[in-house]
């Protein structure tokens, strides 16, 4: 009985094996055909692109050397534009020419840039970009926003603004960057309404874009109350970068924020924006914080601490964390003229680590 069952199972598995081998062969053939077909299509497209590049190069050239244009040049330009307009229905050409114009526009400014924008509008690429804003694919949408921003088509600001809280992070990043590029600090009004977090990457990007705009004294502290923690963090960074000393009290309030990252950023911010009372604020919150925040406070004390904080700092030297001890010792050395001497005296009566830390600080000061 068992023998018959085994023979039956083997028969079945032999046919399974045949099917499996056939499937492998079929799959291999399909993959090979797909790869060859893909390579062929790619090479055909590359050949076409070679022709298209002549058109785009011509347009960019005419834009850059717009002053040298005479009647013959204008005729050539008209015929090139006409050829481009005929091809514009082809979506690959559209993508190609828009990409070329956009990358050229990034590197030029003034009248040449205006001329390039003119070609962009003449080809109706702005209409296609607007249409792409409705695409279901996030990268098509984000690309359209980037294109309209670089081409400085400020008549579409309202349409772009609607994407500042898009569910896709890249779409909203591009839309938010567009707002800042078009309107500078006023463009930050999207911070009032965004529900998604601003990544550190996006914050760096926005700060970088803002650094190219004239400084402004816009109302930042309203964002300290935002429900979106990343908005509070970004507002703290703005306050720190633009030295908004008048916001000191509002920043201090953020030390009691329920979110640990906000509290950490507030400590960093107070390291640069401080008054005589800052040290007291930090010390009073020290015990409620985790080690990371305590280290940040000890680090901040190097700037904001003074002789009156020596007792607190000496206490920190007894902490089990060597990192905390190191920052506390640095703060002590900076707290007053006699700070280093007091530290030396203390080190003679305490553990080995303190004397090593002292040597380290002396070395730093000497360097």
């Amino acid at each position: 009985m068992a023998g018959r069952l085994l023979t039956y199972l083997i028969k079945i598995s032999w046919s399974v094996q045949n099917i499996a081998v056939a499937a492998v062969v079929a799959l291999m053939t399909c993959l090979l055909v797909f790869m060859l077909l893909y390579m062929y299509v790619k090479s055909v497209r590359e050949k076409k692109q070679h022709k298209w590049r002549m058109i785009s190069d011509m347009l960019i050239n005419k834009a850059i050397f717009y002053e040298d244009r005479d009647e013959i040049e204008d005729q050539i330009l008209a015929s090139v534009l006409e050829a481009a307009q005929k091809l514009i229905v082809n979506r690959y050409f559209r993508k190609f020419i828009a990409g070329e114009l956009v990358s050229a526009k990034k590197n030029i400014s003034g009248a040449s840039a205006d001329s390039l924008k003119q070609f962009y509008l003449q080809l109706g690429l702005d209409k296609y970009a607007l249409k792409n804003l409705e695409s279901r694919q996030w990268y098509v949408k984000a690309e359209a926003i980037q294109e309209l921003t670089i081409m400085h088509t400020d008549e579409f600001i309202d349409q772009l603004h609607t994407h500042t809280n898009d569910k896709n992070e890249y779409v909203r990043m591009e839309a938010q960057a567009a707002m800042v590029q078009f309107k500078g600090f006023d463009g930050l009004d999207f911070l009032n309404s965004i529900s998604y977090p601003l990544s550190n990457w996006q914050q760096i990007k926005l700060l970088q874009l803002l650094s190219l705009k004239p400084p402004s004294t816009i109302n930042i502290d309203k964002w300290f109350k935002s429900d979106n923690n990343s908005v509070v963090i970004f507002a703290l960074k703005l306050a720190r970068n633009y030295h908004r000393f008048e916001l000191h009290d509002a920043i201090t309030e953020c030390l009691d924020h329920e979110n640990a990252d906000v509290r950490y950023e507030a400590i960093r911010c107070l390291n640069e924006i401080y008054t005589d009372e800052t040290a007291d604020h930090l010390i009073s919150r020290f015990l409620q914080q985790g080690l990371k925040h305590q280290v940040a406070i000890a680090r901040a004390m190097q700037n904001v601490g003074s002789k009156k904080d020596e007792l607190f700092l000496f206490d920190l030297l007894k902490h089990e964390s060597d990192e905390l001890k190191l920052h506390a010792a640095r703060a002590l050395a900076n707290a007053s003229k006699e700070g280093l001497l007091s530290l030396e005296k203390y080190s003679k009566e305490s553990e080995e680590a303190i004397s090593q830390i002292l040597m380290h600080i002396k070395g730093e000061n000497a360097a």
């Binding site: 083997i10 094996q17 081998v21 390579m39 790619k42 990268y139 700060l207 830390i357 380290h360 070395g363």
Partner: protein, 474 residues
């Protein structure tokens, strides 16, 4: 039915089942890799790394480069590291008790002096003999640590103790990095909002026959020697397909020890690199993941498909054998240390997918292949030719070749480092030869690695390299 026939069928159909599962895995890896690579390329097209390079808001990064007897090339290699594009950078060279004059060369070339430096011993290591800083402000980013020899893991732990940044990048000092490598590696950490990125890896490519000038890669060439060339294909397959697919699933277990970035806080909380294993790179990633799973915090291990790091591949069978032997022992040691996670649903993807995959298809595959082939040969000589098994074997080999060709296609369609058509043809030729020439040797080295582990041989194995001397093609 005789017992011999029964065993034969069990053997044949067992191998068939194993092959079918591998085939399915390869198909899934291919599909996930396409998805992840497409997504990365789209995202990357919106990224301006120049912005990050000039920003003062970027997080600080410490490069940790352990060096052991690297005297002839260390000056150039350090110069290359110091020239990387990153605003907030610290370069820490750890001289792991070199017997040559590496330290003296560094002292002279970079005007180093022994500084009073407090080393925060958060990770236990062999004693530090001295910390050196440069008196020349041009080299203010440079820190050289001299320590007693303790192996790569111990040297990296010293680096972690010394580093001041929130993130550190460990590299092999003889690797050549792309100028924007750190910017690209920093991005995943900065982009994270809902998950904490605990580590990020980059693609390592083969630098043999490439043109290197002043510690920078000037021209990419396909290696002229056979072994490095075949490893080029192997690296493309591993990095562009496998690691991308695992990244898509957030199940990546390995970040190459040659180049990877880590969250320093998590590394310290996990206890740092394990100096008792020869696979310290994989073991650390697995331990970090396990730590995050046990903590219940959302996390991610990111991977960058851009070619960021170029390294010299072994060009002789002797050195290649040692390397593969060590990799095998490292894998087994890691799997053994974390066996608790094997099909353990409380570790999610890590326990249910990543670990079992490594167990069945990275650890067991060479053993099954080796003993399967031996068994087949024995049966054919002793009894009769087993055409069924031979057919399966041919199918698996063809599939392997096809998988390699698919990897070449992915390379051409994405990064296209080897521009000449001749190079692509050479790679395809290598893909066809690999199962017959290179693969059996790799399987054999892995089997020897298994035996060495059983015999408690835990040596690192000397890795002799030609090095990137100035203006030298390797």
């Amino acid at each position: 039915m005789s017992w011999q026939t029964f065993i034969l069928h069990l053997f044949t159909y067992g191998i068939l089942l194993y092959s079918i599962v591998i085939l399915i895995c390869y198909l899934l890896i291919g599909a996930f890799s396409i998805m992840e690579t497409r997504s990365y390329l789209h995202k990357n097209s919106f990224t301006d790394y120049r912005m990050l390079a000039s920003s003062t808001e970027t997080p600080s990064m410490s490069i940790l480069a352990p060096a052991y007897n690297e005297g002839p090339t260390i000056i150039e290699n350090v110069r290359s590291l110091l020239s990387l594009h990153y605003h907030n950078l610290e370069v820490i060279i750890i001289n792991d008790g070199s017997k040559d004059d590496s330290l003296e060369r560094l002292i002279e070339a970079y005007s180093l002096y022994k500084a009073d430096y407090f080393v925060n011993q958060r990770l236990k290591t062999k004693p530090v003999k001295g910390v050196y800083r440069s008196s020349n402000p041009v080299y203010r980013k440079l820190v050289v640590v001299d320590k007693e020899n303790g192996g790569k893991a111990d040297a990296l732990n010293v680096g972690v103790n010394i580093a001041r940044s929130d993130y550190f990048v460990c590299i092999d000092v003889d690797c050549v990095l792309e100028q924007d490598a750190l910017l690209k590696l920093a991005k995943p950490f900065l982009e994270a909002t809902t998950q904490r990125v605990i580590a990020a890896g980059g693609v390592v490519r083969i630098a043999n026959s490439c043109e290197i000038e002043g510690g920078r890669l000037v021209k990419v060439n396909l290696p002229k020697q056979f072994l490095p060339r075949i490893q080029t294909l192997e690296y493309i397959r591993a990095f562009l397909l496998s690691r991308m697919a695992w990244t898509k699933l957030n199940g990546l277990l390995l970040i190459s020890g040659a180049f990877g970035a880590f969250d320093r806080e998590i590394v310290i909380n996990c206890g740092g690199y394990n100096s008792k294993t020869v696979g310290e790179d994989m073991e650390l990633v697995v331990r970090m993941r396990r730590y995050m799973e046990e903590l219940g915090e959302p996390y991610k291990v990111a991977f960058i498909p851009d070619p960021l790091c170029w390294t010299e591949a072994p060009s002789t069978y002797r050195i290649l054998g040692r390397q593969r032997n060590r990799w095998t022992r490292g894998t087994i040691e890691t799997l053994r240390a974390h066996k608790k996670m094997f099909f353990n649903p409380s570790y999610g993807i890590l326990g249910m997918l990543s670990y079992p995959y490594w167990f069945f298809f990275e650890f067991l595959a060479p053993i099954i292949e080796f003993f399967g082939t031996l068994g087949l040969i024995y049966y054919c000589f002793k009894y009769a030719v087993n055409w069924e098994a031979i057919l399966i074997m041919i199918g698996v080999i063809c599939l392997g070749i096809l998988y390699s060709i698919f990897a070449i296609m992915m390379e051409v369609l994405t990064y296209h480092q080897y521009k000449q058509k001749r190079d692509i043809l050479h790679l395809v030729l290598v893909a066809i030869l690999e199962p017959f020439v290179f693969h059996p040797f790799v399987v054999w080295s892995a089997v020897v690695g298994n035996f060495d582990l059983l015999r408690k041989n835990n040596s690192w194995g000397e890795m002799t390299r030609a090095g990137f001397a100035p203006n030298k093609k390797i």
